[in-house]
Symmetry: C2
Subunit: 132 residues, 2 copies
């Protein structure tokens, strides 16, 4: 059973915006969009983003410095994430594949390192862009 997090005012405003967006959003584009709701400073956005990432409601797409809502309710609090990114239209989807996540969660190399978290980003062309 996952812990229930009651989002604060700013967190809710920012999560709702990201959640209803069809594409990853960047911090300053979020800021621009929530100014009418009284969020005026970058820090207010970054603080909410940090918290939302921490509790697993959103993920950061590292290669794009952008944020998307978690599309995978079983996502273990952002500890195991995989995305597909179209290099043409920049569409991003969260990959939910049990085999893949098991494979990666159990991966151990020779370096003797114990992994607690991973992030995987695949790049290519989405179906739509491929057929153009």
């Amino acid at each position: 059973m996952q812990k229930q997090h009651n989002l604060s005012k700013n967190q809710k405003i920012i999560f709702d915006l990201i959640d209803k967006s069809s594409e990853p959003l960047k911090a300053y584009s979020i800021l621009f969009n929530v100014q009418k709701k009284g969020i005026n400073a970058p820090l207010q956005v970054y603080r909410a983003l940090d918290k939302l990432v921490e509790i697993g409601k959103i993920h950061k797409i590292e290669s794009r410095n952008a944020f998307i809502a978690c599309q995978n309710s079983s996502c273990q609090i952002s500890k195991a994430t995989a995305f597909s990114i179209c290099e043409s239209c920049e569409k991003v989807s969260e990959i939910s594949n049990t085999k893949l996540s098991k494979y990666l969660s159990n991966f151990a190399d020779e370096a003797g390192m114990k992994y607690s978290k991973y992030n995987l980003e695949f790049f290519g062309l989405c179906k739509k862009c491929k057929s153009k």
Copy 2:
């Protein structure tokens, strides 16, 4: 047979610095370190970094905005990269594991997307930090 790239002056200066570093280097730390060699502006650093990434001599650690030399001569021009990152001491190693790279290169999900590239970052504690 891999194409031979003759590095230009700036590319060589910057590659040498990254290559002999024991940790990932950030762009502005590189800039600071090469100013005595006549490289004065961020853009000169970023241009060399872009080229070095493109030809696979270095990789960008996306979660850290930092660069390390490729430790894996068979790395297919930065198209398939995996790293282990210690969250305590920030040590980064490039993972060279044939099974893993085969698994990921052949991965195809249901979305019908053809991947041409991936980047994987594992996080955890390195051997040294684990035993502290």
